[in-house]
């Protein structure tokens, strides 16, 4: 039974997504319970999956009984299991929150709205599991198409942001496909392990080199690596309030996971592609993204855009950790990726709620807020601690391991970049809190009443941020073991 877990993880949201339009037209009120139920079931399966993978090692699933190089293969290893667990739990929380902040799209056609969200989740699961380069392309496109539609669902200016996202995202997908075709022409196979076994003699072949360049460019657009981040701030700040938490927490992170998988299971750590040490190049790109993202976040006046740039800077931090070439840095980077997903979900829920309950879109609007909700202020403080990286939140332990890895690799520029990006994060949160607390609440004002859904989702996310910090030791040693087995 447990050998079929990876497929069930994918099928649960997928089957619900496909059946919702049929059920939903007749019984519109069933949509939400069905979607919540299917994501809950998926989360339970994901927890079982993590424990199975931790106990028995990776699960390799060959579709249709065709063994690896000929058929399509999924690999359910430690990285994929944890990423899927994170995605499914965050999707569940975003769905719970979404009820309180339902936009027009959700009310007009609930069936289609939930279909899109469930398709997005199943596609993200597919990206995390796929061990086949072309399979990753198909799931990247399914995830991207649902994201375009979800961003555009807000209507108005979001339509233009979604269109720009679509143009850049599809261009990225074309580059990825071009990279895959180059690698296929050079190696004659698409399975990641099989490509990896044929590559060592081909590392200087111009077809392989350009293949990896196109592949990386395509995925960098998807993961919003500076300077290819142009689509992200507009898309995420204009997306419906209920949608941006799930988009911001999952889509870019899962594209990053796809790159990490290609980086470590196809190229192999420490390899030179065409005489260029790939990890050093990634290190430099990560440093630029981490610092530039922080600076750009500091200059924003729109709350959602500020958080979006914060996420862009964190993509750089994760890349720094993963490109150190040692297990400590890799484990720190992946642990920070999980943390960042939780933090982005919390921040975008806060920003959406600020718009919904305070009517505040920009920092100037925040100055006028009189009756602050204790739930939202508390959530913001915990999220801020985790973003800056104060113990005992998970953000601290992620950054700590990234810095340890950088020191081990003697890459002092990377250490400086992590510290600088931390200072910039501190700076923009000070700016935010300065605006929020500028006006003391008068005793006559009662705090804003927030619905249960918001307080529950914020409470769970805050607990998760602190819990990840307290539980950091077993999780990081899990990733350390994963990295050691991968040959680091």
């Amino acid at each position: 039974m447990s050998e079929h877990l990876p497929v069930f993880l994918f099928l649960v949201p997928f089957v619900t997504a496909v059946s919702l339009p049929i059920v939903g037209t007749r019984h519109p009120t069933w949509c939400r319970p069905l979607a919540l139920g299917s994501v809950s079931l998926m989360s339970v399966l994901a927890i079982i999956n993590v424990s199975v993978v931790a106990a028995h090692g990776e699960i390799r699933y060959a579709f249709g009984g065709w063994a690896a190089p000929l058929g399509i293969e999924w690999v359910d290893d430690g990285l994929a299991a944890i990423v899927i667990l994170t995605v499914s739990l965050l999707a569940l929380i975003s769905l719970i929150y979404g009820e309180g902040d339902a936009g027009t799209a959700r009310k007009q056609s609930p069936a289609l709205y939930f279909t899109l969200i469930l398709l997005l989740i199943s596609a993200l699961t597919g990206i995390a599991l796929a061990a086949d380069l072309f399979n990753v392309f198909v799931f990247l496109e399914v995830a991207a198409l649902t994201s375009y539609a979800l961003v555009g669902a807000a209507g108005g200016r979001a339509l233009v942001s979604a269109f720009r996202y679509l143009i850049l995202g599809s261009f990225g997908a074309s580059l990825y496909l071009l990279g895959v075709s180059h690698l296929y022409v050079a190696t004659g196979t698409l399975n990641m392990a099989d490509v990896a076994s044929r590559l060592p003699d081909l590392m200087t072949s111009s077809s392989v080199v350009s293949g990896f360049i196109f592949l990386f460019l395509g995925l960098s657009i998807k993961m919003a690596l500076i300077p290819l981040h142009g689509w992200l701030p507009d898309a995420y700040s204009d997306a419906p309030g209920a949608v941006s938490p799930i988009l911001a927490s999952s889509v870019t992170k899962v594209a990053l996971v796809a790159w990490l998988r290609i980086m470590f299971s196809v190229v192999g750590p420490g390899t030179e592609v065409g005489h260029v040490p790939v990890l050093e190049l990634l290190d430099v790109l990560g440093i630029i993204a981490a610092v530039a993202g922080g600076v750009l976040a500091l200059t924003q006046t729109d709350i959602k855009r500020m958080f979006a740039y914060g996420g862009i800077s964190h993509v750089g931090l994760i890349l720094i950790g993963a490109s150190m070439g040692n297990a400590t840095g890799f484990a720190g980077g992946v642990f920070y990726l999980i943390n960042d997903a939780v933090m982005q979900a919390a921040l975008f829920i806060l920003a959406g709620a600020a718009l919904h309950y305070y009517g505040a879109r920009t920092l100037d609007d925040l100055r006028r807020v009189r009756d602050r909700s204790p739930w939202m202020t508390g959530g913001l403080v915990v999220a801020m601690m985790s973003m800056i990286g104060l113990p005992p939140t998970g953000g601290f332990f992620g950054k700590w391991n990234i810095v340890l890895g950088a020191l081990q690799a003697e890459s002092y520029a990377a250490v400086a970049a992590v510290v600088l990006s931390t200072l910039l994060t501190l700076a923009y949160f000070v700016k935010l809190l300065g605006c929020l607390f500028q006006r003391a609440p008068s005793s006559a004002d009662a705090p804003v009443e927030v619905p249960m859904t918001l307080s529950v989702s914020l409470g769970v996310l805050s607990a998760a941020m602190i819990g990840l910090g307290l539980m950091s030791d077993p999780i990081i040693s899990f990733f350390l073991e994963f990295a050691h087995r991968g040959g680091m």
Binding site: F134, F137, V138, E141, L145, Y148, A149, G152, G155, G156, R157, L159, V160, A162, F163, L166, I167, S170, F171, A173, S174, L177, L178, S181, Y184, V185, L190
Partner: protein
């Protein structure tokens, strides 16, 4: 220079691919009209498919279907079906992208009454 030209002369497929790809990128970057941007995107996507098909072409090969009375299989006689299947899947993805993008463009047109990027941006302000 002469070597480069000679190399290009022997690879007309590659020249066509690069031309189509860059042409599509140029249209996407330059044209202010949303539908024309989509046409540019479509040309880029098609050029990648062309690349894939061009490399999988094999002269003198036939479709990879074995008649029931085949005893020995000579792989050199058959075209490799995999790139064509990839192309087919990529076309499906491309069509889905086109559908979503046209839906977005028509929603923009209904909302702002224009397909020119600068006019739409003016009306948003």
């Amino acid at each position: 220079m002469a070597e480069l030209l000679e190399a290009l002369f022997y690879r007309p497929n590659f020249v066509v691919f690069v031309t189509l790809f860059l042409w599509g990128v140029y249209i996407m970057l330059i044209h202010p009209n949303f539908v024309k941007k989509l046409i540019g995107l479509y040309i880029v996507q098609t050029s990648v498919l062309f690349f894939l098909v061009a490399y999988s072409a094999k002269s003198g090969a036939t479709v990879p279907i074995l008649p029931p009375d085949t005893t020995t299989v000579d792989a050199a006689q058959y075209a490799n079906p995999l790139p064509h299947v990839l192309t087919l899947t990529a076309i499906v993805v491309q069509v889905a992208t086109l559908g979503v993008s046209l839906a977005l463009v028509s929603a923009i047109y209904r909302k702002y009454g224009s397909l020119e990027e600068h006019e739409v941006l003016e009306r948003i302000e």
